[in-house]
């Protein structure tokens, strides 16, 4: 309990006993992060969200704390698609058990749906969508479409 900021130092959401803290989320993307890991209003987790808080490193950032759930590596890497700078801390008994950066995958198979209605990956063929992860977006390896916005909205 020693590393808590006092309220006067800007503590917005309380510490959690155990679970996951996702910090340094690109400002405004917290709710999309929750969508990616399947947390909706109807799931059981207790979740705290802070959006647009000031950050020395990023200017503005979002933070998400999820109680009693430890994210696995696959989930962390999915988050990197919309928030490449996140740091993910697994908390056990109020202490940081592990600190994790995320690794941005290079290729996505069947993860996002190509927005191009003329793309062969949207036809009735025995293939899954295929995207290459580029610095400026997701590149469809069939039709060359580039998804630059609302990546979460295109997830299957």
């Amino acid at each position: 309990m020693t590393d808590h900021k006092r309220p006067s130092e800007g503590l917005l959401i309380s510490p959690i006993r155990s679970g996951t803290v996702i910090d340094h989320i690109t400002a405004g993307e917290a709710l999309n992060v929750l969508r990616i890991i399947g947390i909706t209003g109807t799931t059981a987790e207790s979740v705290s969200v802070a959006t647009n808080v000031s950050s020395g490193k990023m200017g503005r950032k979002d933070i998400v704390k999820i109680e009693n759930r430890e994210l696995i590596k696959e989930e962390m890497d999915r988050i990197s698609l919309i928030a490449p700078d996140v740091s993910i801390n697994i908390i056990r008994d109020f202490k940081v058990f592990s600190k994790n950066g995320v690794e941005r995958p290079k290729f996505l198979i069947g993860v996002v749906k190509c927005p191009n209605p003329g793309c062969i990956s949207n036809a009735n063929e025995p293939i899954e969508s295929r995207f290459e992860v580029l610095p400026n977006g997701l590149h469809c390896m069939y039709c060359d479409w580039l998804i630059t916005t609302d990546i979460t909205g295109h997830m299957i």
Binding site: F107, I109, G118, I120, S129, M141, D144, M155
Partner: protein, 327 residues
């Protein structure tokens, strides 16, 4: 919880990605020609040089006399299809084809993947035209023979780009020239592929298009990232005297709300003999054809007009492509 799909650090499938090489079940290496983006400069130069050799000496033997080419055209085409057939015939090979999508088992609901597997058993290579973008890439993953893309929807049409480059190379170097692209640059796939290919040759690209039909921003950005100078012009008159190549594309009437606005735009983008006064003497005017009103027929008689030559070049270039994948 369950997630859809998988994340990968490396190409998870041997045939996927930018490579145009795959191996069939027997482990034989196959060369496909799917997208101009897959092709590097040595490959393109080799096709152009081979086409030049074929065109100058003609082919005396029949190097592909034991080969069968399958033409799968699921979209209308006359010149691409005929020139592939002519190219195969000139190399001594045989072509087999499916008449149309209505006449094929695609009409019964067969997937393209299955059609390709089946046709791979009949022929030594497949030329595919299909309305869906990415169809040829899919085909290359299911085929056990090489696949050549002859146009996939609004996507790629590499044989057109190769013959465009070959036609330029007949009279000019490809390096460091000034190429003007005029017309519908938003939907014109031939202009996109040519611009991309020219970025391998450090040429300057000048673009002239009606409002709303400009080169897509993503492509312009990509060309600039690749070190190509892309210069936008309001009016063809301001740049035509500085060009080595003028590549004209069709402005389609259906892109405009009414005929009056179409004719307005079309007339201001028309290439006429008057417009061509004072141009560089070696200027060449190209057009992928069919043309409608973009080029005044009076231009046909001028030394700059090379579009019929360009169309004729489809045969030696496609012969070079067929030899490349089949030998």
């Amino acid at each position: 919880m369950g997630y859809k799909g998988t994340l990968h650090r490396e190409h998870p499938i041997r045939s996927m990605g930018k490579s145009s090489l795959t191996r069939n079940q027997r482990g034989t290496r196959m060369k496909h020609i799917i997208s101009i983006r897959d092709l590097d400069r040595p490959f393109i130069d080799n096709i152009i040089n081979q086409a030049a050799r074929i065109a100058s000496h003609r082919v005396t033997s029949d190097p592909l006399n034991d080969k069968i080419l399958a033409l799968l055209f699921f979209e209308p085409s006359t010149r691409t299809r005929m020139s592939f057939e002519a190219a195969m015939a000139r190399l001594g090979g045989t072509s087999v084809s499916v008449g149309s999508i209505e006449a094929s088992s695609m009409a019964k609901g067969e997937t393209l993947a299955d059609t390709i597997r089946v046709v791979s058993g009949y022929a030594d290579a497949i030329v595919l035209r299909h309305p869906k973008e990415g169809a040829a890439r899919l085909a290359s993953e299911f085929a056990s023979v090489p696949v050549i893309n002859a146009g996939d929807g609004a996507g790629q049409h590499p044989s057109q780009t190769l013959l465009d480059l070959y036609t330029i190379k007949q009279s000019l170097p490809l390096d460091g020239i000034d190429v003007g692209l005029i017309g519908d640059l938003r939907y014109g796939r031939t202009a996109h592929s040519l611009a991309y290919a020219l970025s391998l040759y450090r040429s300057r690209i000048h673009v002239i298009s009606p409002a709303g039909l400009e080169l897509p921003q993503a492509l312009t950005g990509e060309l600039r990232e690749r070190g190509t100078e892309v210069i936008e012009h309001e009016d063809i008159g301001e740049v035509i005297r500085d060009l080595d190549v003028l590549y004209v594309t069709r402005i389609q009437r259906e892109r405009f709300p009414d005929s009056a606005s179409y004719f307005d735009v079309a007339s201001s983008y028309k290439i006429t003999p008057e417009l061509l006064t004072g141009v560089r003497p070696h200027l060449i005017v190209l057009h992928p054809l069919p043309r409608v009103d973009e080029i005044d027929p009076a231009v046909d008689e001028l030394p700059y007009a090379r579009y019929f030559e360009q169309s004729k070049n489809g045969v030696p270039v496609r012969m070079a492509m067929l030899r490349e994948v089949l030998q």
